[in-house]
Amino acid sequence: MSLSGDAGWLALRALVAAPGRSLALSAALGIAFGMPALTLSAAARAQQALQHRARETPVVIGAPGDTFDLAFAAMHFRPGGTRPLPWATLEQLAAPGVLLAPMHVVHTADGAPVVGTAPEYFEARSLVAERGRLPAVVGEAVAGASAARVRGLQVGHTLRSDLEALHDLSGEAPLTLTITGILEHTGTSDDNALFTDVRTAWALDGRLHGHGSLRADETLPGTTRAHAYGSGAVLPADTRPDALGAFHLHGGLAEQPLTAIVAFPKAPRDRDLLLDRIASADGIRAVRPDRVVSELLAIGHRVRDGLLVFLGLVGTATLALVALCLDLSRRLRAEETALLRRLGAHPMLVPRMHAIESATLIGLGLAFAALMTAAADTALAQAMTP
């Protein structure tokens, strides 16, 4: 026992005797402390993820149009919003110091974007299949770690491409994609996509096709009709090896569309040369995602700062309420403290008891805030850290 008695014991007994009140107060404190911390940490994580992805996507080449749309379509596979470029552009821009990855992102399968690309994309991003392998032929897809986990996809599973543009039945054909691999987790948008060869994306467009669909009574090996095709009335194109031999492109390769080209220059000089070449070319333009993201973050920072002021006000109000609650509780217990003094309590016992009670509540609140922030941060980190 200290010189002023068992203030701690008394304070804790008082807190434990009213667990509901104590928990409610510490939770209120926790939220008041935790929300700004959580906001800051989430904002920092999101900023980190955006900046990391932007840095890892040095140059995006596309047709003239909205800068944000192009940058985000290439970085995060948001379909739509960009006009197509011809494949010939990619061949024209090919140079020893730059790795060029074509990208044709128009379609989805079970809600996941289907990214039509080439082996260069996997090389540039160091994407490797954790299980299985990368796509080798039309109709094969490798799934991002999260896309696979969310849908329970395994190597050998099939899923059908979504028919979105039902109003445009001119060419779009459903295709059964066979999962040949699951990519390692990266903490980037790559985790949420399905990757195919660009030719598969063209097959989804209807630009590359064979001579027929599967018959109504046929299925691909290892699938049931319901599994592979759902209840769709349109049968998917036959992409079995025998049928692939009859596949042909409508129009020349040079005319086939790409929604973007992602360029990975080996050195700043290669990047500058590439940018110069694009600047002097007609009908294409280059976007540097790091600059786009910086612009976006400048807006984001203003939003975050505003939010923090708001959270600060909410936090202050919460703290004031908690202080009022503690004071009210003390007033209600004035008789108890008077009794302690009458019985001969040390003059410092009651102030210490109150201080320990408040400190415990604040400590619990901080612990609650720390737990909340840490849990959220861990979840965010898992989702967004490369």
């Binding site: 074509p102 082996p119 032929v137 039309v138 094969e140 692939l244 596949f247």
Partner: protein, 312 residues
């Protein structure tokens, strides 16, 4: 590929190897067909990279498809050389790098052909596209492809440009000579000419010959409809010449009009049995065969001549 050639080439192990290319740390070049493999081998002789041929040396480019392991290995290659002009049909549905593939025939003016679906041998039906892919039959077109191969190889790390230039120079000389020989051997005036398979379009274009494609299996006598086409064609001029990719069977030759001169030309797609692929050397047998037409245009001479002793 014709059944005869398949049997013959299947019996021997002839270079280049058709093994799946192994991914290595060194520079690797993969060729999509025998003809471009030959160019890369000639031009890149002595260079430090590993050169491999993706399909088996005797594969039919119309039906052969690489398996997933072969595709994965090819994706890792530093350079993938294709003949192009639609020759490697498997490329249409195969995931290859976007920027490391060189279609060497891109600089060759395309030669439109009629679209036709047909079958031969045991490999099943296949369809030819709108463009004749047999560019190497024309020495000048093949030279264009050689230049494209040279340019692509010159960009590879560790390339010895002096050696590459010298090798290209020697190859061009040889192709120039072959071209001159073919021009000299071409029959003037040209008789009506047909081929059993649309393989000789580029050769015909180079030599100013009009070659009709009649689509006949060298082992199976044609059906009545095709026979009618053959008779129409054979009646269109003096001493019509039927070009074969492989020696036709006696039954087939007997079925055709007696006025037809049968000439077997090497389509230069595969090495000769027991030998390595040698474009110029094999092409010389075609020179000899063509020359034989000019020599034997007298009516008393045999109507049935063939390259490399192909006559009956």
């Amino acid at each position: 590929m014709t059944p005869l050639l398949a049997i013959l080439t299947g019996c021997v192990s002839s270079p280049p190897s058709s093994a799946v290319p192994e991914p290595t740390a060194s520079v690797s070049v993969v060729a999509g067909s025998v003809t471009v493999h030959h160019l890369a081998e000639r031009i890149g002789a002595g260079q430090p990279w590993e050169l491999s041929l993706l399909p088996p040396v005797d594969a039919d480019p119309g039906t052969w498809r690489p398996d997933a392991a072969a595709v994965s290995a090819t994706q890792a290659a530093d350079l993938i050389l294709l003949n192009g002009a639609g020759y490697e049909r498997w490329v249409t549905t195969t995931a290859l790098p976007a920027t490391r593939v060189v279609r060497t025939a891109d600089g060759v003016p395309p030669l439109q052909t009629g679209r036709r679906t047909h079958s031969h041998g045991s490999d099943g039906a296949h369809s030819h596209g709108d463009v004749d892919p047999h560019t190497w039959m024309d020495p000048r077109a093949y030279e264009t492809q050689a230049v494209a191969v040279h340019a692509a190889l010159s960009r590879l790390p560790g390339a010895d440009s002096t050696a590459l230039d010298a090798a290209l120079h020697a190859l061009r000389d040889q192709l120039g000579q072959l071209d001159a020989d073919l021009q000299a051997a071409a029959p003037v005036p040209a008789p009506p000419m047909a081929s059993n398979h649309p393989s000789f379009g580029h050769l015909g274009r180079r030599l100013g010959l009009s070659i009709v494609s009649l689509d006949i299996d060298p082992a199976v006598p044609p059906d009545a409809g095709t026979m009618a086409d053959i008779h129409d064609w054979a009646a269109s001029g003096e001493m019509p010449v039927m070009l074969w990719e492989a020696q036709p069977s006696a039954a087939v030759m007997d079925a055709l009009p007696a006025t037809v001169v049968h000439l077997t030309l090497d389509p230069l797609e595969h090495p000769r049995p027991g030998r390595g692929y040698a474009h110029a050397e094999q092409a010389q047998t075609n020179v000899a065969a063509l020359r034989s037409i000019s020599r034997r245009r007298a009516p008393a001479e045999s109507h049935r001549m063939g390259a490399g002793g192909g006559g009956r």
